[in-house]
């Protein structure tokens, strides 16, 4: 009975252990991850198995009948992703029993994430669990572990400020847009240039339901391609200035050496729509929007530094909550640990 609990394990490699270039080599495609999960589950020493495979982590959870199963699992993982055993050993961790529970709960809550408190990981854990369960790779122990980890994550998030405040540039921009416009369903977005940060910011705004997105780039093909990706429209770069009054949110990320939006242009646009605010996001370096624009009434200008500083402040705030969240999770972990021990006792009778 005790043997079963002692062989609950997790083998993983995350952003804590491995730099980006190593994570790139370790990464598995969805198909390969599913195949590895099936292979491990088919082993005699492993009763249950679940693979969590995201851009920042590759983790194999399982319940083994033999505590010395670690070598076998490492060997299978190396065979799957083609990395050397030395590389895997140098950039991975191995936890057993109670530590597995604590780790799984922290991952679900987002405490172990690069962006502390991010919520995407919970969805990824849920998907991994659903897939493994569908493939019949999990059993009563892992099912209970994952379901309880989702409940614990919800509890820790509600009771602490671990998810409060946005920590990505795109989401910070969305929060600001909400503080300016309330709902975004009537807001129209103009994207100047096709930079990566601008694109991600536009995607965040799109996910919150902005009315439409228009892209203007010096290369019309780039504008057209990005507009297609975002489900918006493309206009000629030279046409954006006369149409400025139609837009509420302007995200600028061109490579122009000097400002492309100045006070007189914005002043003329705001005069034609004085009741509606302008939200300008300048993520270009050098800056695309003259800082003087911020002095205009009803114009709110944020540059990359402003957005990053808000994101960093929120991140610090979240980090300060880690210990509180961890304490809450410990209570849940102990409850589950005792339940699992009791269950195994009953099952063995």
């Amino acid at each position: 009975m005790s043997q079963v609990l002692q062989s609950l394990f997790v083998l993983g490699s995350t952003h804590h252990e491995a730099p980006l270039e190593v994570r790139e080599r370790m990464a598995l495609s969805t198909e390969k991850a599913a195949k590895l999960q099936q292979e491990l589950h088919a082993l005699d020493q492993i009763r249950e198995c679940l693979v969590v495979n995201t851009c920042n982590r590759l983790e194999i959870y399982g319940l083994a009948t033999d505590p010395a199963v670690e070598d076998t699992i490492r060997a299978h993982l190396c065979a799957s992703n083609g990395v050397s055993r030395e590389l895997l050993d140098a950039h991975s961790f191995w936890h057993t029993n109670l530590d597995v529970l604590q780790h799984a709960f922290e991952v679900s809550t987002g405490l172990d994430s690069q962006m502390v408190g991010e919520t995407d990981i919970l969805g990824q854990m849920k998907n991994a669990y659903a897939d493994a369960r569908k493939a019949k790779c999990t059993g009563s122990v892992l099912n209970r572990l994952f379901e309880k980890s989702f409940q614990a994550a919800k509890s820790a998030r509600t009771q602490t400020a671990i998810t409060r405040g946005q920590v990505s540039i795109g989401n910070v921009a969305v929060d600001l847009a909400n503080r300016i416009f309330g709902h975004l369903r009537d807001s129209r977005v103009l994207l100047l240039g096709s930079g990566d940060v601008a694109e991600k910011t536009a995607q965040s705004l799109k996910s919150r339901g902005v009315a439409d997105i228009t892209v203007a780039s010096r290369t019309f093909e780039n504008a057209h391609s990005l507009a297609h990706k975002l489900g918006g429209a493309a206009i000629e770069f030279g046409d954006f200035a006369p149409q400025l009054k139609r837009f509420d949110i302007v995200i600028s990320s061109t490579a122009a050496p000097t400002a492309i939006l100045d006070r007189s242009m914005l002043g003329a646009a705001i005069k034609q729509r004085p009741e509606r605010p302008f939200f300008l996001i300048d993520v270009a370096l050098p800056r695309d929007i003259d800082p003087e624009v911020d002095k205009l009434e009803n114009v709110y200008l944020y540059n990359l530094d402003d957005l990053s500083s808000i994101a960093n402040e929120n991140l610090e705030l979240r980090k300060a909550e880690i210990e509180r969240a961890r304490t809450i999770l410990k209570g849940h972990v102990w409850n589950l640990w005792l339940q699992l021990r009791r269950r195994t006792l009953l099952a063995s009778k």
């Binding site: 405040g165 909400n178 300016i180 004085p274 009741e275 402003d306 808000i310 402040e313």
Partner: protein
């Protein structure tokens, strides 16, 4: 039934003011520790304050056998009662976050100041409205319009705070709980149009009385009321023409409300002088 309640009108009003203060302090403390306050607690406290204030005004009304709008204390309490009532109507409909907190603050301030100034609760002769229903309707509508203007001022203060936060790149604390600048601006516009409509109606009903009894309406009161009305009318017209928007509009709304409040005292003083000069028999004979 009111006679059986073992509490004086001023006691009830004082407890009401204390509950408003508690609501404001509750909101302030939770915001200072950077947590969103419980809307249920805020709403319950405001309801408690409102019920006690209603009781106090009812006791006062039962005593004088008229709507208690005879002195500056009663008018202030009535304006306070009206905008809290208005909050109960517009708060849940428009879901303006923190409006409850700001309403509690203004209610506590107005009700508290009126209780702490004994001179404001000066006695006045009975039948101040002369039993004329038009003038009672005029007074009730005018007070209601002041309540609307009070909410406009609160919404404008909220707008200025949110705008300041956005301009200064402030993200934490009260800023994250306030409604958006656009919502607040739009709400202030709609409410001001409502307020000026109600005040205009109040002045029309008052004018009916004034045309029939020009000698009973003090000139100063007439001038001050018209000045408040013209001020708000100009602001509304400029807003509709989009010439006075956002920050300047918010500042104008706050300034006008302060002026409207400040004008109550001379208006009341003028009324009291007039009432003093008018024999009580005249008032009663009009009933």
């Amino acid at each position: 039934m009111l006679n059986e309640i073992a509490i004086t009108d001023r006691d009830a009003l004082a407890i009401g003011a204390a509950i408003y203060s508690a609501a404001f302090l509750f909101g302030l403390i939770t915001l200072l520790i950077r947590k969103p306050y419980s809307h249920t607690i805020m709403f319950t406290l405001l309801c408690g304050g409102f019920l006690l204030q209603t009781l106090g005004l009812n006791l006062r009304g039962a005593e004088i056998k008229a709507c208690p709008l005879g002195n500056i204390f009663e008018i202030t309490q009535f304006i306070c009662w009206s905008f809290v009532l208005l909050y109960f109507i517009i708060g849940p409909v428009f879901r303006l976050r923190l409006l409850g907190f700001f309403t509690a603050g203004l209610a506590a301030a107005l009700a508290g100041v009126s209780l702490l100034a004994p001179g404001w609760d000066a006695p006045y002769p009975p039948g101040i409205f002369g039993g004329n229903p038009w003038i009672e309707l005029h007074a009730a509508l005018a007070i209601f319009s002041y309540a609307v203007f009070a909410i406009v001022a609160l919404v404008s203060v909220m707008f200025l705070i949110q705008q300041h936060g956005l301009k200064k790149k402030q993200f934490k604390g009260v800023y994250q709980y306030l409604p958006s600048v656009q919502q607040l601006d739009l709400m202030a516009k709609r409410l001001l149009i409502t307020g000026i409509t109600v005040l205009s109606a109040a002045l029309i009903f008052g004018a009916v009385f004034w045309i029939n009894n020009p000698e009973l309406v003090p000139k100063f009161k007439l001038a001050a009321t018209c000045l408040v009305w013209i001020g708000y009318l100009v602001v509304v017209i400029l807003r509709i023409q989009k010439k006075l928007v956002t920050r300047r509009y918010a500042l104008a709304s706050i300034a006008l409300f302060l002026f409207a409040l400040a004008s109550l005292w001379p208006i009341q003083s003028a009324s009291e002088t007039k009432v003093d000069a008018t024999p009580v028999e005249t008032s009663t004979s009009e009933r």
